[in-house]
Amino acid sequence: MAAVTTTPRQKVSWGTANFVVVALALIPVLWMVSLSFKTPAAILDPSYLPKQWTWSNYSQILSTSQFIRPLVNSIGIGLISTLVAVVLASMAAYAVARLRFPGKGLLIGMALLIAVFPQIALITPMFSIERALGLFNTWAGLIIPYVAFGLPLGIYILSAFFREIPWELEKAAKMDGATPFQAFMKVIAPLAAPGMVTTAILVFLACWNDFLFAISFTSTTSSRTAPASIAYFSGSSQFTVPTGPIAAAAVVITIPIIIFVLFFQRRIVAGLTSGAVKG
């Protein structure tokens, strides 16, 4: 779509459009960063930028287990859920993309159903089940639902990726005496690694982002994740809202993710749109 002639007016209008998009994306984020650097006295000052910068909000939250422990939980639960979901989804996606077996349509339909499933509908029965099984307020109590909701995404992205992998290699491996399982592990899995990385990123983002399950299936910091813990922050006294620490905590859980997203942006875009385009 090479524009044959670019008039200065076109340049200005596209420049303006670009600027508006970037500004709209950044202003709310920078406001949070600014808030996290304001002194407690200046919190009630509506100016966009702090007049006096301070690290005290960060030192406050990073010196208490009320936030550190949930941060550890978030990372641990997110990584385990991602690993399990990617492994299980790879197996199912391989079957969907490569093998002929009855029930495939049902699996696809089921995954689609779960992708749009209203999570709130699970809260009451899962709360009851988890209490009965002793899973309530444990890592496993969050990992299991995270894996279940990561699977549909993983199955769709990975089966799209798997379809692109050349069949012949697998056949060659089988000719050389590999079993179908070996063909999967030794030949296809390494070729599928990029798709798996994309899936892992998106599943991890979803786990990291979750709030509903995290506040419903946990009751103490032993398994509460970081986003949920922020909602339980308390001020230095009953009458102060811990705005500064909340903003700092929000920045702490957000900035690494933003860097992560920007670093892997090509993979994320490819993953989000793989199904929609390739069909």
Partner: protein
């Protein structure tokens, strides 16, 4: 896609392979079948354990009087919980709020997402920068962003409140819902934009040029060529955004906690469980929400027929 809207009970049968024995199947084909089932089994078991089984259990719970504060009074009461929910003004208010938020946020997101997609597709320079910036709202933790909006709208504290005469917007029903919609739109427009961008890149440039030569205006080219060709991508994006928006919870929980009649169905479901500790009523709410989502999915698929997604899907 038609299987997707089938009942959950139907999908349970996937675990039990249909007993069709075809003796003419070769050894290899049978091994392939078995491997297919084996590879799918773990994923299927986890998905059923976390969704179909709890939903089945919720149906059972919803027919009982079951309050955690009165464990001795558990009793089968038929459809009384449903009657109680459906005759409660709280449920209808929450449903109304949820529908309003869904309709407005999805409609606005579609328009803004289309504009964003066009900017990302057509802009003459800085395409990478625009895409990078657009991914920030997508990546941000919803709860973190919601706190940002809350403080921004707090009178005497936020820059947005200051710009709007320090009105306490979050304490008025209509204005609070507008703020919730704003937060939703900000967070989800990039996702919509990226999905639409993918559809946009499939629209042939030659067709556009031919129309241009024939004297079509930019607007005519957009409505007569681009939009019809993008229909499948738009439908996928709309379906997922609508069902996702219907489950809205995080933004409302942080911004208003459902005060002043701003609670969505998810928020009242949550409050019922943890404040009233009533498993029976909570389960009835769960089932009703589940039915609503089923109806939305059904309408989409009915309305869009064959254009509905089969194996193609974006994500939440």
């Amino acid at each position: 896609m038609s299987e997707a809207v089938g009942t959950v009970a139907a999908s349970e049968t996937i675990e039990e392979p249909p007993g069709r024995r075809k003796p003419q199947l070769s050894e290899g084909a049978r091994a392939e079948r078995r491997l297919g089932w084996m590879l799918c089994a773990p994923a299927v078991i986890v998905m059923i354990a976390v969704t179909a089984f709890p939903v089945g259990y919720a149906i059972y719970l919803s027919l009982e009087r079951y309050n955690l504060e009165l464990p001795k009074a558990v009793k089968f009461i038929g459809f009384s919980n449903y009657a109680a929910v459906l005759s409660s003004p709280y449920w209808w208010q929450a449903l109304k709020v949820t529908v309003i938020i869904t309709v407005f946020s999805v409609a606005i997101t579609l328009v803004l997402g289309m504009i964003l997609a066009l900017v990302m597709h057509r802009t003459l320079f800085g395409r990478g920068t625009v895409r990078t910036a657009a991914l920030i709202p997508y990546g941000i933790v919803t709860v973190a962003a919601a706190y940002g909006w809350q403080y921004a709208w707090t009178p005497g504290q936020g820059y947005l409140a200051a710009a709007f005469n320090n009105n306490a917007v979050l304490t008025s029903e209509v204005k609070a819902i507008a703020v919730i919609i704003l937060a939703e739109v900000w967070k989800t427009t990039p996702f919509m934009g990226l999905l639409l961008l993918a559809g946009l890149s499939l629209v042939s440039e030659d067709l556009q040029k031919a129309a241009k030569v024939d004297g079509a205006t930019a607007w005519q080219r957009f409505t007569k060529i681009t939009l019809p060709l993008m229909k499948p991508a738009i439908l996928v994006a709309l379906l997922f955004r609508t069902l996702d928006s219907f489950r809205i919870f995080d933004n409302i929980y942080i911004l208003t906690a459902g005060a002043n009649g701003t609670g969505s169905v998810s928020v009242i479901g949550y409050h019922n469980l943890f404040n009233a500790l009533n498993l029976g009523i909570g389960s009835a709410i769960s089932i009703l929400i589940f039915i609503c989502v089923g109806i939305i999915a059904f309408l989409f698929i009915k309305g869009f027929g064959t254009a509905a997604p089969g194996t193609d899907i974006g994500n939440r």
